[in-house]
Amino acid sequence: MSGKPILHYFNGRGRMESVRWLLAAAGVEFEEKILKSAEDFENLVKGGNLMYQQVPMVEIDGLNLVQTRAILKYIAAKYNLYGKDLKEKALIDMYVEGMRDLNEMIMYYPLCYPGEEEKNLNFILERATERFFPVYEKALKSHGKNYLVGNQMSWADIQLFEAILMVEELKSDILSAFPKLQEFKARMSKLPSIQKFLQPGSQRKAKMDGKNLAEAKKIFKFDDSVFLKHMS
């Protein structure tokens, strides 16, 4: 029975993982309709509810929301995770857009040219430690509060926590030069809704491996070259 948001995606992180994190952190239960085959996806497209014939799609409050940002912004606003005024909202938006760039690189990493894995990995780690993490470290240091914006948990904090965990999967000591981020990570990990999401058996998805990638390719019928341009 619903009222619960329904997430349409394949059984992997991809672009939907940030949505899962946000809902979970907000303590919102959700259902998932997992696409398992190319036919599942084609049927979803034929159903006419995918505005641009793409997933993620989230059914929520009578809407069929597509476009990851539109989905995330709706959820953030609905569950009061979007700051208290336009300026806080702008700051949150800037922070999450930065993280989206980082997340995209990580998302596309399994699709890199064979032989270029190390180069791309180094690029991601360099960006993380020189462009993105310093910004959040500095923000936390400068105001000394527990959360990035407005002394209150927001979408930006949840997104940052997710990003930290994903980069740590690539290099476990990536936060070694970022003491504030280490404290932040520890604090966020203790929040009940997040603790719950971090437990085995939650709806959090596993890091993409070869099998998961093959599944995605089969369902969405793409080849690597479609995405390689996104790695710079």
Partner: protein, 221 residues
Amino acid sequence: MAEKPRLYYFNGRGRMESIRWLLAAAGVEFEEVFLETREQYLKLLEDGHLLFHQVPLVEMDGMKLTQTRAILSYLAAKYNLYGKDLKETALINMYVDGTLDLMMSIALISFKPSDQRQEAELVVEKAKSRYFPVFEKILKNHGQDFLVGNKFSWADIQLLEAILMVEELNATALSKFPLLQAFKTRISNIPTIKKFLQPGSQRKFPPDDHYVATVKMILQI
């Protein structure tokens, strides 16, 4: 008296053009600082004005705003172009993310080393098969003048901008979309937009070789 927003970018469309459109459509005057040398860019970096080392940068209301979508969302909300409730805002976000994606693919054509004419054809095809039908249908379903909530919004501005950009690649792109044709005429006639479409406005030209070379030189890409 409030200061005008100040835009920092190259002297061309790129990621800043949608911001210029939104400000212009809202009737907001703005200033521009054009990046013409690498030194200017490095100075912005050194002075700590670029949160993630990137432009666009818009200085306004005491903030140094970066990240195109963050800037656009702020402007849309500030100037009442973002719908009247969460659901309308969600619709607008869905629409503008689609049109922004489309316009980004057009902007990137000039930076591709491969066959640019072929790339342009692919993008036009995508516009006609994935994006235009969506908006034609939306207008058909509600029969109203504007995309969302029977009121002019960011989504309308962005769609017009996207239509014009696609038409620059293929003049007959709207031939199968009568409602979009009417929409284009209607929105183009809104006074602030009409003004922006005049020669001499702050609207920028499509990218040329000089623009591409300048961007590459400044960003060293």
